[in-house]
C-alpha cells in the first residue's frame, strides 16, 4: 500500500465544494450555475464555469440522485422469448437507436431482459426500487401483466407499438400498421398478383394483428382466410408457414410476410420446393431490417423508421418523467421495392 503524504493528499475527485472554493463563491451558487438556474450574476457564472474547467469537476451522479430522487437512467425492457431476441435484428436496431438517443440526452440506458418468470420478478423489483426513472417496453404481447404492474406502480412507461389490451393507458410510439400493410398489399396487387398469401405475426401482437387487418381491408372480397398462416416472426416459423400454405394452396402467386425474417424463411421453403422467387411467387417482408437488402434475392419490404422510433420513445419517456403529458405517436413507414416482389 502506497504511503499517503498528508500534504499532497490522495487526489480525490473534485466536489462542488472544491469548485465553490476555487471560484470564490458558495456551493449554492455553483449548484445554480450547473442546473441552469437564474439569479446568478454574470461574474459569478463565469468564475464558476472557469473553476469547473480548471478543477475538472464532474457532478456526482449518486449524490444528485439521492438528493433529487431521480436515477437519471431509463430501462430498455425486452419481454420476448430468447430465440426471438437474438435472431431478430430489429431489436438490435431499436436498442442501438435508444442507446444513442439516451446518451445524447444525458441519460443512461439500462438493458433489462425479462425472459424467464424469475427474470420478470427481478425486474419488477428492480424497477420499483427506483433504479430507473422510466421504462421503454419493447414488444409486449397482449395483456402482458408486466405493463399493468408498471402502470399500477406509477412507473413512467412508453410502449413500442400499440400495447394490445392497454390501448390508451401507456403512451406508445408505433407505425401505422394497417396502412402499411395496405400499401404493401396494393403493391402486390399492382404487380398483378391475385392469390396473395400472408404469413402473419402472432395475433396477440400489434404487428401480427393489424398487418393482417390491413391486408384484409385492401383485398376486400378477394381475401381468402385459407391463405393466412401464423408465424412468430422467426425465420423458421416463416419456413414452416410457407410449407403449410403450399400444401393448402398450390396457386399462390405472392406472399406477404409480417417480418423480413419470416419472408426469408418462406423463400428458403419455396426454393427447396423448386419454386422461383420472384418469378413464380413474389415474397414481401416487413421491417427493412439489415438482412432485407443483403438477402438473395433482396427483399421488398416496408421500412420502419427505427432510429426515429427509438428517438421518439426516449423523448416521450423523458417528457413523461418530467411530468409532461404526451399523446401516442404514429410514425410513417416506407415501401422499399427490391427484387423479391
Amino acid at each position: 500500500m502506497p504511503s499517503v503524504d498528508e500534504t499532497t493528499a490522495v487526489r480525490r475527485k473534485p466536489t462542488i465544494r472544491d469548485v465553490a472554493t476555487v471560484a470564490g463563491v458558495s456551493r449554492g451558487t455553483v449548484s445554480r450555475v450547473i442546473n441552469g438556474g437564474r439569479w446568478v450574476s454574470p461574474e459569478a457564472r463565469t468564475a464558476v464555469e472557469e473553476a469547473i474547467r480548471s478543477t475538472g469537476y464532474t457532478a456526482n451522479h449518486a449524490a444528485r440522485s439521492l438528493a433529487t430522487g431521480r436515477s437519471g437512467s431509463i430501462a430498455f425492457l425486452l419481454t420476448e422469448p430468447q430465440h426471438l431476441l437474438f435472431d431478430d435484428p430489429t431489436f438490435a436496431l431499436l436498442l442501438r437507436g435508444a442507446a444513442g438517443a439516451a446518451a445524447q440526452r444525458g441519460t443512461t440506458l439500462v438493458l433489462l431482459v425479462a425472459g424467464t418468470p424469475a427474470e420478470r420478478d427481478g425486474i419488477e423489483h428492480y424497477v420499483s426500487a427506483g433504479h430507473v426513472d422510466g421504462v421503454m417496453l419493447i414488444s409486449s404481447h397482449e395483456s402482458d401483466p408486466l405493463i399493468s404492474t408498471l402502470l399500477a406502480a406509477g412507473i413512467p412507461t412508453v410502449s413500442c407499438g400499440i400495447p394490445l389490451g392497454h390501448e390508451g393507458e401507456a403512451p406508445a410510439v408505433s407505425v401505422d400498421e394497417v396502412g402499411s400493410a395496405r400499401i404493401m398489399t396494393r403493391h402486390l396487387l399492382d404487380r398483378g398478383h391475385r392469390r396473395i398469401a400472408m404469413i402473419a405475426g402472432p395475433q396477440d401482437t400489434p404487428g401480427g394483428r393489424y398487418r393482417l387487418v390491413g391486408l384484409r381491408d385492401e383485398l376486400g372480397d378477394a381475401f381468402d382466410p385459407a391463405l393466412v398462416e401464423e408465424g412468430d416472426y422467426s425465420s423458421e416459423s416463416g419456413a414452416r408457414a410457407m410449407a403449410a400454405l403450399l400444401e393448402r394452396a398450390g396457386d399462390i402467386d405472392a406472399v406477404f410476410a409480417a417480418s423480413d425474417l419470416m419472408a426469408a424463411g418462406a423463400i428458403s421453403t419455396l426454393r427447396a420446393a423448386g419454386i422461383r422467387v420472384p418469378e413464380d411467387v413474389a415474397v414481401a417482408g416487413f421491417d427493412d431490417s439489415g438482412l432485407a437488402a443483403n438477402h438473395q434475392p433482396p427483399l421488398t419490404t416496408m421500412r420502419q423508421p427505427w432510429d426515429r422510433i427509438s428517438e421518439a420513445m426516449v423523448d416521450m419517456l423523458l417528457d413523461i418523467i418530467a411530468g409532461v403529458e404526451r399523446e401516442p405517436m404514429t410514425l410513417p413507414t416506407e415501401l422499399v421495392v427490391r427484387a423479391s416482389a
Copy 2:
C-alpha cells in the same frame, strides 16, 4: 393535486430507519444484516428480516452508491461500426448473456455504444465520472485508444477476446482461436479437401489474426497465401471475398470463413455462380451464431460458448472491481458438423 392528509401522510418508501424501528434495533444492525455481515445475533437477524418483509423495504441504490463510492453497475461497451453491431447476432448473444449474468449478481448492465468519435468522448467522460464500476470491452480492434484510456484511468476493464496490442494489460476472456482454427482445418482435411481457402477476419482483431494462424499451422506446407481473402465478418464482405477467391483460384474445394455471416455470404456467391455447397465446395463458418443451424444448408462451424464467455466476463470484472487479481481465461470451443462441410 390530491390533498395530503397530515395523519395518513404520503406513503414514502421505507428506509433503513423504518426497518430498524420495526425490528427494534439500530440502523447499524440492519445494515449488517443486509450486507451479510457477521456479528449479528440470530434473534436480531430474524427480527430484521421479518421487518424488511413487513415494511417492503428496498435499499436505496443512490444512497448506497454515495456512501460506498461504487455505482453498482457495469458497462457493456461496443466499439464496432454500426453495420456490424446489428447484423452480427453474436453481439446480441453476448449482450443477452451478460445482462442475465449481471442481473443474477445484483449488478446493472449499462449499454454503451462508441461508434462515432463524439460517442467515444462521451463514453470516456461517462465512465470516468464513475457512473459504472467497470467496463466489459467488446470486440476491440488492435491498439484501440479507448482501452488505453480506460486502463490509464484505472477503470477495471475486461476484454472480450485477446486485446491485440494490449496483451496482458487488461484481463480477457477468450477462446483458443489458433486451436479452434486448427480443429476446423483438420476437419476439412479429413473430409478429403485439399484446396482450402480462408475468408479471414480483419487482421487487427484477434479472431481475424489467430484463426488464420491456426489454418496456416495446420496446413503447413500446403498453405497457399493466394487462397486467403480478408473480410470484416459481415455477410456482404464474405460474398465479396468469395468472388475474389473464385476469380483467383477456380480449384478451391473448401472454404473456411472466420464467421458464420461470412460463410453465409460466401455460399450465396457460390450459389450464384452455380457451385453447389457442399457437393462442389464445402463451406465452414465460425461462431455457431443463431443463423448457422437454420441456414440452408446448415453450417458446419465452431461453437463459441457465448453464455459461458459472457458469464465469465461478468464474474471476472466483478472480481477485479472487488480487488481480486484475475488471470486471463480461455474457454473451449466445439466443432459442430452440419451439412455445409
